[in-house]
Amino acid sequence: MFKYLFARSEDIPEGSAAVYFGFSAITWFVIGTGLGAFNASKLAFPDFVTGLEFVSFGHMRQVHVHAVIFGWISMAFAMAMMYMTSALGNTKLWSEKLGIWNAFLWNVGLSLGLTLLWSGMTSGREYSDFPWFIDLYIATFMTIPLGINVWMTVINRKTQGIYTTNWFFASAVFMVSIVFIVGNLPEWFHLTGLTEAYLTWWFAHNVLGLWITPVAAAIAYYTIPKVTGNPLYSHRIGHLHFWSVVVFYSTPAAHHLMSAPLPEWLKSFASVEGVLILVPAVAFVSNILLTMQGKWNMFVENLEIRFTVTGCLMAIPLNMQGGFQQTRAINWYIHGTGWIVAHAHLALLGFSTFLEAAAVYLGLQTLMKRKLYSLTLGNLHFWFLLIGFTTYWVSMTIAGLIQGAGKIYEVPYIDVVMAEHPYMIARWIGGSLVFVGNCFWLYNMWMTARAGTVIPEGRMAHELAYER
């Protein structure tokens, strides 16, 4: 890939940027989940590898979070944008070279940022932990170039219309840049106190709400119609989904601080808006499931569809939790407990990861014109992810309910820690399964590139029989 950095644009094969992004994403996924599993082991067995600053939990926790959000999830998004945007406009990516540089600078910036975080250089603000110059780097060299490429590809499309997926892509790359610049105001201008706390959560909420959730959904809007061959069920529901994401998902930031002394009116407003995230969720799930009509056999037979529909089904519990757990009537019980940790993993490791994994599987096979090396490994990957995630989610949800009860009934905290111990072990086992599954995936994709069956021109990967 490095040889293309200084190649002439026309010499770069189509899809190179997407492939670069795709393999980077998988690699970061392996790293991120490996770190996650290691962190989890320390919560279960605190004396396992101890006394060293660079492997202490407090130094690695944020590295895990940012490796999966900015490495795995966001690079998988960029990968999807690099090939879907152009495909949906019947055109080529605006600049393959910008895409390659984008992927290269993304890896460089993220490696640098994570190294600094690991060393303890942090802003101390959750989800915007990077020091401000890394934030500036992310906006300048990661999100804005990606946005330019997506926007120019959409503008130069050969179709009259813009497909639903591309509305989401174009608006999300715009919104994430805004969120990065505005959400880091406390660091640019050293804002302090509750303003800092509130903007920290404004950033955290909107990175999830205006970047991860809409882009993941947009990917499903491409994958399902493309692989099944069914048309997307309804353009109208797509509109309801898109507008409700922009209007409702951008507003509930204050619901993350229901326990802080923010003005009550802000919490009231945010909570009502928070329940209304069920509107885009209902629209998304119904649109995808209705598009599947007549093709449900593919849920069993086809890996990409299985990943996508599983992710889409996970959007149901995800949004039921997300909508209701933040309200005054419920938040007092589960705030700050493992329940929330389970919910965050349902969003990122459940819902969004399953949708992106499908996009990466589909995209890499299509662009490299190689059929997946091993279906068995693909299936193993799916089940390791699903079982590992479910183990994690169930154990953390139970642990969260224990913590909540301990909080309300004023149980000495050490008793809560002891009661949670078995679930911490389960959490570690779940995380390890996810990590092992991802190692299979990286190997499988690597072998696909080297030894996958060649897909003839004009055919799709799933139309070919597996050879292994």
Binding site: M84, S86, A87, L88, G89, N90, T159, Q160, G161, Y163, T164, Y222, P225, K226, N230, P231, L232, Y233, S234, H235, R236, I237, G238, H239, L240, W243, S244, V247, F248, T251, P261, L262, P263, E264, W265, L266, K267, S268, F269, A270, S271, V272, E273, V275, L276, L278, V279, V282, A283, S286, L290, G323, F324, T327, R328, A329, I330, N331, W332, Y333
Partner: protein
């Protein structure tokens, strides 16, 4: 304008030839091998959205999880001097009597969840009496162990400019929500009405 219909505003403003051209364009637009159907929003989806809006307000009100306020224990404090309480042989019996005397109010469940010992009560009694003497709003103060402190809710303002330190049942946040939601649904409704008619479908039979 005589033919204009609210249900398909753009179509009834256009001539037949333009509509035919538009329909052909819509149905033939191939987006990277992906097509879009133009089915109406299903009724269950509309109902779910409506249900979400109602639920959103209902569940956001402060229903559970309230902390004990000074107002909650005020009757307990006032019962401390009653002769039958003073006649009790020990603190345990005295407390039981106080609890018994103050049963039958809407606060029963909260009091049951936040029981006090006679020692606790002795500690907070002078503080609650001092607040009473000042004419303070008892709901604005919370009982934390042996202390009565100002609650940290930043609620609505009273006419005198002081803050109601309770979770509100209505405030300007809810009012903004009502307007915000109205604008949203008005805009989405208008927009969906302006979309091409549901009879336009891509030709996906090939």
């Amino acid at each position: 304008m005589s033919n204009w219909s609210f249900d398909s505003p753009l179509r009834t403003l256009s001539d037949e030839e333009k509509i035919r051209k538009d329909e052909k364009l819509w149905e033939d637009d191939n987006l990277g091998g992906v097509h879009e159907d133009n089915n109406p929003v299903p009724a269950p989806v509309v109902w779910l959205v409506a249900l979400t809006v109602v639920t959103a307000f209902a569940i956001t009100f402060p229903l559970w999880g309230q902390r004990p306020t000074a107002a909650l224990y005020e009757p307990y404090v006032n019962s401390m001097d009653k002769p039958e309480v003073l006649a009790a042989k020990d603190d345990k019996e005295a407390m039981a009597k106080i609890v018994e005397m103050n049963k039958g109010t809407p606060n029963d469940a909260l009091l049951e969840r936040h029981p006090l010992s006679m020692d606790d009560l002795r500690m907070i009694a002078p503080q609650i009496k001092a607040l009473e003497a000042k004419g303070a709003h008892m709901h604005d103060f919370e009982v934390v162990g042996d202390q009565v402190v100002t609650a940290n809710f930043e609620g609505n303002y009273r006419p005198d400019g002081s803050r109601i330190r309770q979770q509100p049942w209505w405030d300007k946040g809810y009012t903004i929500d009502v307007f915000y939601l109205s604008y949203f649904f008005l805009a989405v409704f208008t927009m969906i009405k302006r979309l091409p008619p549901t009879s336009w479908q891509p030709k996906h039979d090939h």
